[in-house]
Amino acid sequence: MPSPRRLGRRAVLYLLVALAMVWTLFPIYWMVTTSLKLPIEYASPEPSWAPTRITFEHYRSLWEHRFLRYFLNTVITAAAATVVSLLCGFLAAYALARFRFPAKLDNLFLLWVLLVKMIPPIVIAIPLYVTLRQLGIINSLLGLVVGYQVYTLPYCVWMLLGFVRDVPLEMEEAAAIDGASRWRTLWSIVLPLVGPGLAATAIFSVIMCWNEFTYALLFLRSPAVFTLPIHIASYITEYEVLWGELMGIGLLASLPILFLSGYVQKYLLRGFAMGFK
Protein backbone atom coordinates (compact mmCIF):
# COMPACT_ATOMS: atom_id res chain seq x y z
CA MET A 1 0.00 0.00 0.00
CA PRO A 2 1.65 3.26 -1.10
CA SER A 3 1.93 5.99 1.48
CA PRO A 4 -0.63 8.82 1.38
CA ARG A 5 2.13 11.25 0.53
CA ARG A 6 3.14 9.26 -2.54
CA LEU A 7 -0.49 8.91 -3.51
CA GLY A 8 -0.90 12.67 -3.28
CA ARG A 9 2.11 13.16 -5.51
CA ARG A 10 0.70 10.80 -8.11
CA ALA A 11 -2.58 12.70 -8.06
CA VAL A 12 -0.81 16.03 -8.64
CA LEU A 13 1.22 14.47 -11.45
CA TYR A 14 -1.85 13.18 -13.24
CA LEU A 15 -3.64 16.46 -12.73
CA LEU A 16 -0.76 18.32 -14.36
CA VAL A 17 -0.68 15.87 -17.26
CA ALA A 18 -4.43 16.34 -17.72
CA LEU A 19 -4.01 20.12 -17.73
CA ALA A 20 -1.19 19.90 -20.28
CA MET A 21 -3.31 17.75 -22.55
CA VAL A 22 -6.34 20.04 -22.31
CA TRP A 23 -4.17 23.05 -23.16
CA THR A 24 -2.65 21.24 -26.14
CA LEU A 25 -5.67 19.47 -27.51
CA PHE A 26 -8.57 21.80 -26.83
CA PRO A 27 -8.01 24.05 -29.88
CA ILE A 28 -7.77 20.95 -32.06
CA TYR A 29 -10.94 19.55 -30.50
CA TRP A 30 -12.61 22.90 -31.13
CA MET A 31 -11.58 22.88 -34.77
CA VAL A 32 -12.89 19.37 -35.37
CA THR A 33 -16.20 19.84 -33.57
CA THR A 34 -16.92 23.29 -34.99
CA SER A 35 -16.55 21.88 -38.49
CA LEU A 36 -19.31 19.40 -37.66
CA LYS A 37 -21.73 21.90 -36.08
CA LEU A 38 -24.59 23.79 -37.63
CA PRO A 39 -23.99 27.56 -37.66
CA ILE A 40 -26.66 28.04 -35.03
CA GLU A 41 -24.44 26.16 -32.57
CA TYR A 42 -21.19 28.07 -33.13
CA ALA A 43 -22.30 31.54 -34.26
CA SER A 44 -23.87 32.17 -30.89
CA PRO A 45 -22.90 33.91 -27.65
CA GLU A 46 -23.26 30.50 -26.04
CA PRO A 47 -21.56 28.05 -28.38
CA SER A 48 -22.23 24.40 -27.60
CA TRP A 49 -19.33 22.36 -26.20
CA ALA A 50 -20.09 19.47 -28.51
CA PRO A 51 -22.29 19.33 -31.61
CA THR A 52 -25.81 18.23 -30.67
CA ARG A 53 -26.46 17.36 -34.30
CA ILE A 54 -23.54 16.39 -36.51
CA THR A 55 -23.58 17.84 -40.00
CA PHE A 56 -21.29 17.30 -42.98
CA GLU A 57 -22.81 20.25 -44.76
CA HIS A 58 -19.59 22.30 -44.49
CA TYR A 59 -17.52 19.57 -46.07
CA ARG A 60 -19.96 19.27 -48.93
CA SER A 61 -19.76 23.01 -49.42
CA LEU A 62 -15.95 22.86 -49.48
CA TRP A 63 -16.10 20.22 -52.14
CA GLU A 64 -18.24 22.56 -54.25
CA HIS A 65 -15.94 25.48 -53.65
CA ARG A 66 -12.79 24.15 -55.27
CA PHE A 67 -11.20 22.83 -52.13
CA LEU A 68 -9.60 20.06 -54.17
CA ARG A 69 -7.96 22.64 -56.41
CA TYR A 70 -6.19 24.35 -53.51
CA PHE A 71 -5.29 21.01 -52.05
CA LEU A 72 -3.69 19.85 -55.29
CA ASN A 73 -1.88 23.16 -55.76
CA THR A 74 -0.32 22.63 -52.35
CA VAL A 75 0.59 19.01 -53.07
CA ILE A 76 2.20 19.87 -56.41
CA THR A 77 4.19 22.80 -55.04
CA ALA A 78 5.42 20.95 -51.97
CA ALA A 79 6.36 17.84 -53.94
CA ALA A 80 8.13 19.67 -56.76
CA ALA A 81 10.08 21.98 -54.44
CA THR A 82 11.13 18.99 -52.36
CA VAL A 83 12.29 16.89 -55.30
CA VAL A 84 14.50 19.69 -56.65
CA SER A 85 15.99 20.45 -53.23
CA LEU A 86 16.49 16.83 -52.34
CA LEU A 87 18.39 16.12 -55.54
CA CYS A 88 20.61 19.21 -55.45
CA GLY A 89 20.91 19.02 -51.68
CA PHE A 90 21.99 15.39 -51.66
CA LEU A 91 24.68 15.96 -54.29
CA ALA A 92 25.96 19.05 -52.50
CA ALA A 93 25.91 17.33 -49.11
CA TYR A 94 27.93 14.44 -50.50
CA ALA A 95 30.48 16.79 -52.05
CA LEU A 96 30.81 18.73 -48.80
CA ALA A 97 31.03 15.65 -46.61
CA ARG A 98 33.59 13.75 -48.66
CA PHE A 99 35.82 16.24 -50.48
CA ARG A 100 37.98 19.21 -49.60
CA PHE A 101 37.62 22.36 -51.64
CA PRO A 102 40.25 25.06 -52.16
CA ALA A 103 40.05 28.39 -50.33
CA LYS A 104 37.70 26.91 -47.72
CA LEU A 105 34.90 27.12 -50.25
CA ASP A 106 33.11 24.27 -48.49
CA ASN A 107 33.09 25.98 -45.10
CA LEU A 108 32.03 29.25 -46.64
CA PHE A 109 29.15 27.53 -48.41
CA LEU A 110 27.98 25.86 -45.20
CA LEU A 111 28.18 29.09 -43.26
CA TRP A 112 26.04 30.77 -45.88
CA VAL A 113 23.53 27.91 -45.82
CA LEU A 114 23.23 28.32 -42.07
CA LEU A 115 22.80 32.07 -42.33
CA VAL A 116 20.11 31.79 -45.01
CA LYS A 117 18.11 29.51 -42.74
CA MET A 118 17.95 32.38 -40.29
CA ILE A 119 17.20 35.29 -42.60
CA PRO A 120 13.51 36.22 -42.35
CA PRO A 121 11.95 35.40 -45.72
CA ILE A 122 10.48 38.87 -46.10
CA VAL A 123 13.99 40.41 -46.14
CA ILE A 124 14.84 39.10 -49.61
CA ALA A 125 11.28 39.01 -50.92
CA ILE A 126 11.57 42.12 -53.09
CA PRO A 127 14.54 41.02 -55.24
CA LEU A 128 13.02 37.54 -55.48
CA TYR A 129 9.73 38.99 -56.63
CA VAL A 130 11.47 41.07 -59.28
CA THR A 131 13.49 38.07 -60.47
CA LEU A 132 10.45 35.80 -60.72
CA ARG A 133 8.63 38.55 -62.59
CA GLN A 134 11.44 38.93 -65.08
CA LEU A 135 11.40 35.17 -65.62
CA GLY A 136 7.67 35.40 -66.25
CA ILE A 137 6.80 32.91 -63.51
CA ILE A 138 5.30 35.20 -60.90
CA ASN A 139 1.77 34.20 -59.93
CA SER A 140 2.39 30.58 -60.90
CA LEU A 141 3.12 27.39 -58.99
CA LEU A 142 6.42 27.10 -60.87
CA GLY A 143 7.46 30.48 -59.50
CA LEU A 144 6.55 29.39 -55.99
CA VAL A 145 8.57 26.18 -56.40
CA VAL A 146 11.58 28.30 -57.37
CA GLY A 147 10.97 30.67 -54.46
CA TYR A 148 10.67 27.79 -51.99
CA GLN A 149 14.24 26.73 -52.78
CA VAL A 150 15.22 29.54 -50.43
CA TYR A 151 13.79 27.46 -47.58
CA THR A 152 14.11 23.88 -48.73
CA LEU A 153 17.57 23.81 -50.28
CA PRO A 154 19.52 25.04 -47.22
CA TYR A 155 17.38 22.75 -45.11
CA CYS A 156 18.08 19.69 -47.26
CA VAL A 157 21.81 20.42 -47.52
CA TRP A 158 22.08 20.77 -43.76
CA MET A 159 20.04 17.69 -42.87
CA LEU A 160 21.60 15.46 -45.51
CA LEU A 161 25.11 16.52 -44.57
CA GLY A 162 24.51 14.90 -41.20
CA PHE A 163 23.08 11.75 -42.76
CA VAL A 164 25.89 11.40 -45.32
CA ARG A 165 28.50 11.81 -42.60
CA ASP A 166 26.87 8.87 -40.77
CA VAL A 167 27.61 6.56 -43.71
CA PRO A 168 30.79 4.56 -43.04
CA LEU A 169 33.57 5.45 -45.46
CA GLU A 170 34.77 1.81 -45.87
CA MET A 171 31.89 0.85 -48.16
CA GLU A 172 32.81 3.57 -50.61
CA GLU A 173 36.48 2.68 -50.46
CA ALA A 174 35.69 -0.96 -51.18
CA ALA A 175 33.60 0.08 -54.17
CA ALA A 176 36.40 2.29 -55.46
CA ILE A 177 38.89 -0.58 -55.19
CA ASP A 178 36.48 -2.76 -57.18
CA GLY A 179 36.74 -0.15 -59.93
CA ALA A 180 33.37 1.53 -59.57
CA SER A 181 33.24 5.09 -60.88
CA ARG A 182 32.39 7.91 -58.51
CA TRP A 183 28.91 8.24 -59.98
CA ARG A 184 28.29 4.56 -59.56
CA THR A 185 29.52 4.63 -55.96
CA LEU A 186 27.25 7.56 -55.26
CA TRP A 187 24.12 6.02 -56.76
CA SER A 188 24.47 2.39 -55.81
CA ILE A 189 26.38 2.54 -52.52
CA VAL A 190 25.76 5.87 -50.80
CA LEU A 191 22.21 6.56 -51.94
CA PRO A 192 20.67 3.34 -50.55
CA LEU A 193 22.49 3.83 -47.25
CA VAL A 194 21.21 7.38 -46.89
CA GLY A 195 17.73 6.23 -47.92
CA PRO A 196 15.97 6.58 -44.54
CA GLY A 197 17.61 9.96 -43.94
CA LEU A 198 16.60 11.05 -47.41
CA ALA A 199 12.99 10.03 -46.73
CA ALA A 200 12.90 11.87 -43.41
CA THR A 201 14.40 14.99 -44.97
CA ALA A 202 11.86 14.82 -47.80
CA ILE A 203 8.97 14.58 -45.35
CA PHE A 204 10.14 17.58 -43.33
CA SER A 205 10.68 19.57 -46.49
CA VAL A 206 7.17 18.75 -47.67
CA ILE A 207 5.73 19.82 -44.29
CA MET A 208 7.67 23.07 -44.50
CA CYS A 209 6.30 23.89 -47.97
CA TRP A 210 2.82 22.69 -47.06
CA ASN A 211 2.60 25.23 -44.24
CA GLU A 212 4.51 28.08 -45.87
CA PHE A 213 2.67 31.37 -45.95
CA THR A 214 4.81 34.44 -46.67
CA TYR A 215 6.08 33.68 -50.18
CA ALA A 216 2.78 32.14 -51.24
CA LEU A 217 1.07 35.36 -50.21
CA LEU A 218 3.57 37.57 -52.02
CA PHE A 219 4.07 35.57 -55.20
CA LEU A 220 0.55 34.31 -55.90
CA ARG A 221 -2.24 36.66 -56.91
CA SER A 222 -4.99 34.69 -58.68
CA PRO A 223 -7.15 32.35 -56.60
CA ALA A 224 -6.70 29.61 -59.22
CA VAL A 225 -3.11 29.08 -58.07
CA PHE A 226 -3.64 29.60 -54.33
CA THR A 227 -2.19 27.09 -51.91
CA LEU A 228 -4.08 26.06 -48.76
CA PRO A 229 -2.50 28.55 -46.32
CA ILE A 230 -3.37 31.46 -48.62
CA HIS A 231 -6.85 30.14 -49.12
CA ILE A 232 -7.30 29.90 -45.35
CA ALA A 233 -5.90 33.40 -44.86
CA SER A 234 -8.38 34.85 -47.34
CA TYR A 235 -11.17 33.06 -45.51
CA ILE A 236 -10.03 34.49 -42.15
CA THR A 237 -9.75 38.04 -43.42
CA GLU A 238 -12.81 38.11 -45.70
CA TYR A 239 -15.53 36.17 -43.91
CA GLU A 240 -15.76 36.83 -40.24
CA VAL A 241 -17.67 33.86 -38.91
CA LEU A 242 -17.93 31.24 -41.66
CA TRP A 243 -16.30 28.97 -39.15
CA GLY A 244 -17.85 25.66 -40.12
CA GLU A 245 -16.17 25.71 -43.50
CA LEU A 246 -13.00 27.36 -42.22
CA MET A 247 -12.48 24.69 -39.57
CA GLY A 248 -13.26 22.02 -42.15
CA ILE A 249 -10.52 23.38 -44.42
CA GLY A 250 -8.19 23.60 -41.43
CA LEU A 251 -8.78 19.98 -40.51
CA LEU A 252 -8.43 18.67 -44.06
CA ALA A 253 -5.28 20.75 -44.54
CA SER A 254 -3.77 19.32 -41.35
CA LEU A 255 -4.50 15.63 -41.86
CA PRO A 256 -1.77 14.95 -44.45
CA ILE A 257 0.79 16.64 -42.20
CA LEU A 258 -0.20 14.66 -39.11
CA PHE A 259 -0.15 11.52 -41.23
CA LEU A 260 3.32 12.25 -42.62
CA SER A 261 4.74 13.22 -39.26
CA GLY A 262 3.82 9.79 -37.96
CA TYR A 263 6.54 8.39 -40.20
CA VAL A 264 9.25 10.64 -38.85
CA GLN A 265 8.62 10.32 -35.11
CA LYS A 266 12.16 9.23 -34.38
CA TYR A 267 13.63 12.05 -36.45
CA LEU A 268 11.44 14.78 -34.92
CA LEU A 269 14.21 16.34 -32.87
CA ARG A 270 16.78 16.20 -35.63
CA GLY A 271 14.31 17.35 -38.23
CA PHE A 272 12.63 20.17 -36.42
CA ALA A 273 15.02 21.57 -33.91
CA MET A 274 18.38 21.08 -35.54
CA GLY A 275 17.46 21.72 -39.11
CA PHE A 276 14.13 23.43 -39.36
CA LYS A 277 14.83 26.97 -38.43
Partner: protein, 296 residues
Amino acid sequence: MTRSSARRAPFHERYFHYLILIPALLIMIALTVYPVINVVQLSFYRYSYARGEKAFIGLENYYRLASDRFFLKGLSNTFQFTALATVAELALGLGLALLFNTKFRGRRWLLPLVIFPMMLSTMVVCAVWGAMYHYDYGIINHVLRAVGLSPVRWLFDPNLALQSLVLIDLWQWTPMVFLILLAGLQSIPAEIYEAGRVDGASGFRLFRHMTLPLIKRHFLLAVLLRIIDTFKIFDKVYALTGGGPGDATETISLYIYREGFRYFNLGRAAAAAVVMLIAVILISAVYVRQVIRGHA
Protein backbone atom coordinates in the same frame (compact mmCIF):
# COMPACT_ATOMS: atom_id res chain seq x y z
CA MET B 1 30.69 -0.50 -66.42
CA THR B 2 32.89 2.51 -66.33
CA ARG B 3 36.61 1.99 -66.17
CA SER B 4 38.30 4.31 -63.77
CA SER B 5 41.71 2.67 -64.23
CA ALA B 6 42.24 4.49 -67.51
CA ARG B 7 45.57 6.27 -67.80
CA ARG B 8 44.02 9.56 -66.93
CA ALA B 9 40.69 9.86 -65.12
CA PRO B 10 38.09 11.54 -67.34
CA PHE B 11 37.03 15.10 -66.68
CA HIS B 12 33.82 14.20 -64.90
CA GLU B 13 35.72 11.98 -62.48
CA ARG B 14 38.47 14.46 -61.68
CA TYR B 15 36.09 17.36 -61.12
CA PHE B 16 33.35 15.18 -59.71
CA HIS B 17 32.98 17.08 -56.45
CA TYR B 18 32.70 20.42 -58.25
CA LEU B 19 30.15 19.05 -60.67
CA ILE B 20 27.86 17.78 -57.94
CA LEU B 21 28.14 20.95 -55.87
CA ILE B 22 27.35 23.27 -58.77
CA PRO B 23 23.53 22.89 -58.95
CA ALA B 24 23.06 23.78 -55.28
CA LEU B 25 25.70 26.50 -55.50
CA LEU B 26 24.04 28.15 -58.49
CA ILE B 27 20.59 28.06 -56.90
CA MET B 28 21.95 29.54 -53.69
CA ILE B 29 23.74 32.32 -55.55
CA ALA B 30 20.73 33.21 -57.69
CA LEU B 31 18.10 32.99 -54.97
CA THR B 32 19.94 34.13 -51.84
CA VAL B 33 23.34 35.75 -52.48
CA TYR B 34 22.12 37.99 -55.26
CA PRO B 35 18.92 39.07 -53.44
CA VAL B 36 20.83 39.97 -50.29
CA ILE B 37 23.30 42.13 -52.28
CA ASN B 38 20.43 43.59 -54.28
CA VAL B 39 18.39 44.54 -51.24
CA VAL B 40 21.37 46.34 -49.70
CA GLN B 41 21.89 48.25 -52.97
CA LEU B 42 18.21 49.06 -53.26
CA SER B 43 18.18 50.61 -49.80
CA PHE B 44 20.28 53.52 -51.12
CA TYR B 45 17.79 54.39 -53.86
CA ARG B 46 14.49 56.05 -54.13
CA TYR B 47 12.77 53.44 -56.21
CA SER B 48 9.10 53.48 -56.95
CA TYR B 49 8.08 50.38 -58.82
CA ALA B 50 4.78 51.89 -59.89
CA ARG B 51 6.33 54.96 -61.56
CA GLY B 52 9.50 53.17 -62.56
CA GLU B 53 11.75 55.95 -61.27
CA LYS B 54 15.01 55.11 -59.59
CA ALA B 55 17.40 57.65 -58.06
CA PHE B 56 20.40 57.29 -55.75
CA ILE B 57 19.70 59.08 -52.47
CA GLY B 58 22.41 57.73 -50.16
CA LEU B 59 21.26 57.16 -46.62
CA GLU B 60 18.02 59.08 -46.88
CA ASN B 61 15.84 55.95 -46.65
CA TYR B 62 17.51 55.17 -43.34
CA TYR B 63 17.01 58.71 -42.01
CA ARG B 64 13.35 58.47 -42.96
CA LEU B 65 13.02 55.16 -41.16
CA ALA B 66 14.50 56.63 -38.01
CA SER B 67 11.66 59.13 -37.85
CA ASP B 68 8.88 56.87 -39.12
CA ARG B 69 6.46 56.25 -36.27
CA PHE B 70 5.22 52.95 -37.73
CA PHE B 71 8.70 51.58 -38.26
CA LEU B 72 9.81 52.47 -34.75
CA LYS B 73 6.65 51.00 -33.30
CA GLY B 74 7.20 47.91 -35.42
CA LEU B 75 10.73 47.62 -34.13
CA SER B 76 9.70 47.87 -30.49
CA ASN B 77 6.72 45.55 -30.95
CA THR B 78 8.91 42.96 -32.63
CA PHE B 79 11.40 43.02 -29.77
CA GLN B 80 8.58 42.87 -27.26
CA PHE B 81 6.91 39.96 -29.02
CA THR B 82 10.22 38.11 -29.30
CA ALA B 83 11.05 38.57 -25.62
CA LEU B 84 7.60 37.68 -24.30
CA ALA B 85 7.10 34.66 -26.53
CA THR B 86 10.61 33.27 -25.98
CA VAL B 87 10.45 33.56 -22.20
CA ALA B 88 6.93 32.12 -21.99
CA GLU B 89 7.71 29.24 -24.35
CA LEU B 90 10.87 28.33 -22.46
CA ALA B 91 9.11 28.36 -19.11
CA LEU B 92 6.17 26.28 -20.28
CA GLY B 93 8.38 24.04 -22.42
CA LEU B 94 10.66 23.32 -19.47
CA GLY B 95 7.67 22.53 -17.26
CA LEU B 96 6.24 20.14 -19.85
CA ALA B 97 9.61 18.49 -20.40
CA LEU B 98 10.07 17.89 -16.67
CA LEU B 99 6.55 16.49 -16.51
CA PHE B 100 7.12 14.10 -19.38
CA ASN B 101 10.50 13.10 -18.00
CA THR B 102 8.72 11.36 -15.12
CA LYS B 103 7.06 8.00 -15.53
CA PHE B 104 3.29 7.84 -15.74
CA ARG B 105 0.70 5.73 -17.43
CA GLY B 106 -0.07 6.66 -21.04
CA ARG B 107 3.10 8.70 -21.44
CA ARG B 108 4.14 6.88 -24.60
CA TRP B 109 1.07 7.75 -26.58
CA LEU B 110 0.46 11.18 -25.10
CA LEU B 111 3.90 12.32 -26.18
CA PRO B 112 3.19 12.51 -29.93
CA LEU B 113 -0.04 14.42 -29.17
CA VAL B 114 1.87 17.16 -27.35
CA ILE B 115 3.84 17.76 -30.56
CA PHE B 116 0.69 18.31 -32.66
CA PRO B 117 0.44 22.10 -32.52
CA MET B 118 3.81 22.75 -34.12
CA MET B 119 2.97 20.53 -37.07
CA LEU B 120 -0.02 22.62 -38.05
CA SER B 121 0.08 25.38 -40.60
CA THR B 122 0.19 28.77 -38.90
CA MET B 123 -2.92 29.74 -40.87
CA VAL B 124 -4.84 26.80 -39.43
CA VAL B 125 -3.67 27.85 -35.98
CA CYS B 126 -4.79 31.42 -36.67
CA ALA B 127 -8.19 30.22 -37.88
CA VAL B 128 -8.86 28.26 -34.70
CA TRP B 129 -7.58 30.90 -32.30
CA GLY B 130 -9.31 33.66 -34.21
CA ALA B 131 -12.59 31.79 -33.68
CA MET B 132 -11.86 31.14 -30.01
CA TYR B 133 -10.88 34.79 -29.47
CA HIS B 134 -14.03 36.16 -31.11
CA TYR B 135 -15.62 38.80 -28.89
CA ASP B 136 -19.26 37.74 -29.27
CA TYR B 137 -19.12 34.09 -30.25
CA GLY B 138 -15.73 32.95 -29.01
CA ILE B 139 -15.52 30.11 -26.53
CA ILE B 140 -13.05 31.93 -24.29
CA ASN B 141 -15.34 34.87 -23.70
CA HIS B 142 -18.23 32.45 -23.25
CA VAL B 143 -16.33 30.83 -20.38
CA LEU B 144 -15.42 34.22 -18.92
CA ARG B 145 -19.07 35.27 -18.97
CA ALA B 146 -20.16 31.96 -17.49
CA VAL B 147 -17.90 32.42 -14.47
CA GLY B 148 -19.05 36.00 -14.02
CA LEU B 149 -16.10 37.87 -15.54
CA SER B 150 -16.45 40.46 -18.25
CA PRO B 151 -15.50 39.39 -21.78
CA VAL B 152 -12.20 40.56 -23.24
CA ARG B 153 -11.51 42.17 -26.64
CA TRP B 154 -8.55 39.86 -27.26
CA LEU B 155 -7.39 41.05 -30.66
CA PHE B 156 -9.04 44.46 -30.68
CA ASP B 157 -7.80 45.93 -27.44
CA PRO B 158 -4.65 47.96 -28.21
CA ASN B 159 -3.21 47.05 -24.81
CA LEU B 160 -3.81 43.35 -25.25
CA ALA B 161 -3.59 42.49 -28.95
CA LEU B 162 0.16 41.80 -28.95
CA GLN B 163 -0.11 39.58 -25.87
CA SER B 164 -2.98 37.70 -27.48
CA LEU B 165 -0.70 36.95 -30.43
CA VAL B 166 2.01 35.84 -28.00
CA LEU B 167 -0.46 33.40 -26.47
CA ILE B 168 -1.10 31.84 -29.90
CA ASP B 169 2.63 31.54 -30.53
CA LEU B 170 3.00 30.00 -27.09
CA TRP B 171 0.45 27.34 -27.97
CA GLN B 172 1.95 26.63 -31.36
CA TRP B 173 5.66 26.56 -30.57
CA THR B 174 6.07 25.42 -26.96
CA PRO B 175 6.21 21.86 -28.33
CA MET B 176 9.48 22.67 -30.07
CA VAL B 177 11.08 23.87 -26.84
CA PHE B 178 9.58 20.85 -25.10
CA LEU B 179 11.11 18.50 -27.65
CA ILE B 180 14.58 20.00 -27.34
CA LEU B 181 14.57 20.14 -23.53
CA LEU B 182 13.12 16.65 -23.16
CA ALA B 183 15.96 15.31 -25.31
CA GLY B 184 18.34 17.13 -22.98
CA LEU B 185 16.74 15.70 -19.86
CA GLN B 186 16.75 12.18 -21.25
CA SER B 187 20.43 12.38 -22.07
CA ILE B 188 21.20 12.72 -18.36
CA PRO B 189 22.16 9.31 -17.00
CA ALA B 190 20.10 8.16 -14.00
CA GLU B 191 23.24 7.44 -11.95
CA ILE B 192 23.98 11.14 -11.72
CA TYR B 193 20.71 11.70 -9.86
CA GLU B 194 21.37 8.77 -7.59
CA ALA B 195 24.79 10.20 -6.77
CA GLY B 196 23.14 13.55 -6.04
CA ARG B 197 20.58 11.94 -3.73
CA VAL B 198 23.28 10.04 -1.88
CA ASP B 199 24.93 13.40 -1.27
CA GLY B 200 21.70 14.53 0.33
CA ALA B 201 20.46 16.88 -2.39
CA SER B 202 16.76 16.77 -3.19
CA GLY B 203 13.94 18.42 -5.07
CA PHE B 204 14.68 21.94 -6.17
CA ARG B 205 18.36 21.84 -5.20
CA LEU B 206 18.86 18.78 -7.37
CA PHE B 207 17.13 20.53 -10.24
CA ARG B 208 18.98 23.81 -9.83
CA HIS B 209 22.49 22.43 -9.38
CA MET B 210 22.43 19.21 -11.39
CA THR B 211 19.67 19.20 -13.99
CA LEU B 212 19.92 22.78 -15.24
CA PRO B 213 23.69 22.84 -15.78
CA LEU B 214 23.46 19.50 -17.60
CA ILE B 215 20.85 20.71 -20.09
CA LYS B 216 22.46 24.12 -20.56
CA ARG B 217 23.35 23.45 -24.19
CA HIS B 218 19.86 22.29 -25.07
CA PHE B 219 18.42 25.28 -23.26
CA LEU B 220 20.61 27.68 -25.21
CA LEU B 221 19.67 26.03 -28.50
CA ALA B 222 15.98 26.38 -27.69
CA VAL B 223 16.42 30.04 -26.73
CA LEU B 224 18.23 30.92 -29.93
CA LEU B 225 15.88 29.01 -32.22
CA ARG B 226 12.85 30.66 -30.66
CA ILE B 227 14.38 34.14 -30.79
CA ILE B 228 15.29 33.75 -34.45
CA ASP B 229 11.84 32.44 -35.30
CA THR B 230 9.71 34.86 -33.30
CA PHE B 231 11.69 37.79 -34.66
CA LYS B 232 10.18 37.07 -38.10
CA ILE B 233 6.61 37.42 -36.80
CA PHE B 234 4.44 38.18 -39.81
CA ASP B 235 1.80 35.58 -40.63
CA LYS B 236 -0.19 35.80 -37.40
CA VAL B 237 -0.23 39.58 -37.55
CA TYR B 238 -1.23 39.59 -41.19
CA ALA B 239 -4.11 37.18 -40.71
CA LEU B 240 -5.52 38.31 -37.37
CA THR B 241 -4.84 41.99 -36.71
CA GLY B 242 -3.27 43.50 -39.83
CA GLY B 243 -0.98 45.43 -37.48
CA GLY B 244 -3.86 46.99 -35.61
CA PRO B 245 -5.72 48.18 -33.72
CA GLY B 246 -3.91 51.37 -34.64
CA ASP B 247 -0.26 50.35 -34.62
CA ALA B 248 -0.58 48.04 -31.62
CA THR B 249 0.67 44.95 -33.45
CA GLU B 250 2.80 46.55 -36.15
CA THR B 251 6.00 44.52 -36.70
CA ILE B 252 9.11 44.95 -38.85
CA SER B 253 8.10 42.17 -41.24
CA LEU B 254 4.67 43.68 -41.66
CA TYR B 255 6.21 47.11 -42.27
CA ILE B 256 8.46 45.70 -45.01
CA TYR B 257 5.48 43.92 -46.53
CA ARG B 258 3.34 47.04 -46.57
CA GLU B 259 6.00 49.42 -47.88
CA GLY B 260 7.26 46.98 -50.48
CA PHE B 261 4.18 45.14 -51.66
CA ARG B 262 1.36 47.59 -50.98
CA TYR B 263 2.90 51.03 -51.49
CA PHE B 264 5.74 49.90 -53.78
CA ASN B 265 8.24 52.05 -51.90
CA LEU B 266 10.95 49.56 -52.70
CA GLY B 267 13.84 51.68 -51.42
CA ARG B 268 12.23 52.29 -48.05
CA ALA B 269 11.21 48.64 -47.71
CA ALA B 270 14.74 47.56 -48.61
CA ALA B 271 16.22 49.83 -45.93
CA ALA B 272 13.90 48.30 -43.33
CA ALA B 273 14.90 44.85 -44.59
CA VAL B 274 18.58 45.72 -44.15
CA VAL B 275 17.95 46.84 -40.57
CA MET B 276 16.21 43.54 -39.93
CA LEU B 277 19.00 41.61 -41.61
CA ILE B 278 21.62 43.23 -39.40
CA ALA B 279 19.60 42.46 -36.28
CA VAL B 280 19.24 38.82 -37.32
CA ILE B 281 22.95 38.50 -38.10
CA LEU B 282 23.83 39.88 -34.67
CA ILE B 283 21.41 37.49 -32.95
CA SER B 284 22.47 34.47 -34.94
CA ALA B 285 26.20 35.09 -34.63
CA VAL B 286 25.93 33.44 -31.23
CA TYR B 287 24.08 30.51 -32.71
CA VAL B 288 26.39 30.08 -35.69
CA ARG B 289 29.41 29.96 -33.39
CA GLN B 290 27.72 27.24 -31.35
CA VAL B 291 26.76 25.18 -34.38
CA ILE B 292 30.20 25.41 -35.95
CA ARG B 293 31.76 24.31 -32.72
CA GLY B 294 29.35 21.37 -32.57
CA HIS B 295 29.72 20.40 -36.22
CA ALA B 296 33.48 20.61 -36.68
